[in-house]
């Protein structure tokens, strides 16, 4: 009746797991960068855009934020081919994750933009700066500094959420874990090891983001 814990089988597959880890990191990085760019554009659109643009971006944000990531992923990977758009698993994963993070980033950045007091903008106007110049020199840096913690948390959440792409057989860390499980049947060991791996990744990412904050936003 006793179960013999055997972590050796799990660790023996470390190269395989490493490949999965690499893809997880790639997916995370690409999605974070692209999602952030979408977020900046989206937030600017929501604060300064015309009514049509505002509604469009608001709809995008609400639809993404009120539906699960896995359903978005399935729609893109399984659903789009019938509309003629075929992605391979890794690309579909990237697209889904980017679109997802883009919506959350838009909201977070928008809050940052709206938190800048009107008086700062007036000061810029009074000096003769144009709207774009005010956005660039007066608003965007303090706004970013303000919402950095929330954005950083969202990035970590995204990195963890990449595990979902294993369900469309993208070869990420979680998928690698499933393969190892199917070979060794060491469910408990493999998934606890994976959980620990993700935890290490999350802590590392948080640390790096904290470091970035110190470098960019803290005066020396």
């Amino acid at each position: 009746m006793t179960y013999r814990f055997n972590f050796r089988d799990v660790f023996a597959a470390w190269e395989f797991l490493l490949d999965g880890l690499v893809l997880t990191l790639q997916l995370s990085l690409v999605s974070i960068v692209c999602g952030l760019l979408i977020g900046i554009a989206g937030a600017a659109a929501r604060v300064h855009g015309g009514p049509w643009l505002k509604t469009l971006v608001a709809t995008y944000v609400e639809v993404i934020r009120n539906t699960p990531l896995i359903v978005q992923l399935f729609l893109i990977f399984f659903g789009l081919p019938s509309a003629g758009i075929k992605f391979d698993a890794n690309t579909a994963a990237m697209v889904a994750l980017t679109i997802n993070l883009g919506a959350y980033s838009t909201e977070i950045l928008r809050a940052g933009l709206e938190a800048i007091p009107r008086s700062q903008i007036e000061a810029g106007q009074a000096l003769g700066l144009s709207g774009l110049q005010i956005f660039r020199y007066v608003v965007i840096f303090p706004a970013f500094r303000l919402i950095y913690p929330a954005l950083a948390s969202q990035f970590v959440l995204l990195m963890l959420a990449t595990s979902v792409v294993s369900q469309i057989s993208a070869q990420d860390l979680f998928h690698a874990a499933s393969i190892v499980q199917s070979r060794t049947f060491r469910d408990f060991e493999i998934y606890t090891v994976i959980a620990a791996a993700y935890l290490a990744l999350a802590l590392a990412l948080r640390f790096l983001l904290g470091l970035l904050y110190q470098l960019v936003f803290v005066r020396r």
Partner: protein
């Protein structure tokens, strides 16, 4: 055998929502239980307790929910502990929700100014009495909007249970896709159904938040 997508399929999908809601309710109850405990741990005047609470929160918030689901669904049974799917799901989601709710509620408790605690202490109240009569009632009001917001997250996260074979809306969507071969339409409907559940709650949470700020 491939079948045409019919109204009956849509009805089955809608019916599957009840499992989504049931799972959400269980997750929330379990999470609330853990969360309250964690929140109190984290503000305890006893450093090891705070450390323990922080460690729990960081551990759970730093791991994917999928990992917890797999550990409880597959890991436990391999080790020899048999659990029903509902127990496994309840355990995984409660641990997950407990960490997040604990954080939210801790934030609300800490948002109550130190002066409130001092006023209670000056009146001779013990820590637990201050907590019970002064702090928690105020923190409760603060906590409602973000808690409702998290409920939306929970509803969306129940979709992951499909991965371990648990029958709820997303799983039903997968099964329907398998028989009708219409993934685009099916998943669009599934997304719309989640949206119908989540969006109203999101709006409620926003309205509550606005009302809270106006009242302060």
């Amino acid at each position: 055998m491939i079948r045409e997508l019919a109204l009956i399929d849509v009805l089955y999908l809608i019916a599957a929502m009840r499992w989504t809601l049931a799972l959400t309710a269980i997750a929330f109850l379990g999470g609330a239980f853990f969360g309250l405990f964690i929140a109190l741990l984290r503000i305890a005047p006893f450093a090891p307790a705070r450390w323990l609470g922080a460690a729990y929160v960081n551990a759970v918030q730093g791991t994917p929910l999928l990992a917890w689901l797999f550990v409880f669904f597959f890991g436990l049974s391999i080790v020899g502990v048999t659990v029903s799917p509902w127990i496994a799901a309840a355990a995984a989601y409660s641990i997950y929700a407990g960490a997040f709710l604990g954080e939210i509620w801790r934030g609300c408790l800490q948002a109550i100014p130190q002066t409130q605690w001092e006023a209670g202490a000056s009146l001779g109240l013990s820590f637990s009495a201050q907590l019970r009569y002064i702090i928690v009632p105020q923190a409760f009001r603060l906590a409602i909007p973000p808690t409702v917001g998290f409920l939306v997250q929970l509803i969306k996260n129940t979709s992951l249970a499909a991965v371990v074979g648990f029958i709820e809306l997303t799983r039903e969507g997968q099964l329907t896709t398998a028989t009708t071969f219409r993934p685009f339409t099916v998943y669009l409907i599934v997304a719309a159904l989640y949206f119908a559940l989540c969006f109203p709650l999101t709006q409620v949470s926003r309205r509550l938040e606005r009302r809270l700020h106006v009242a302060r």
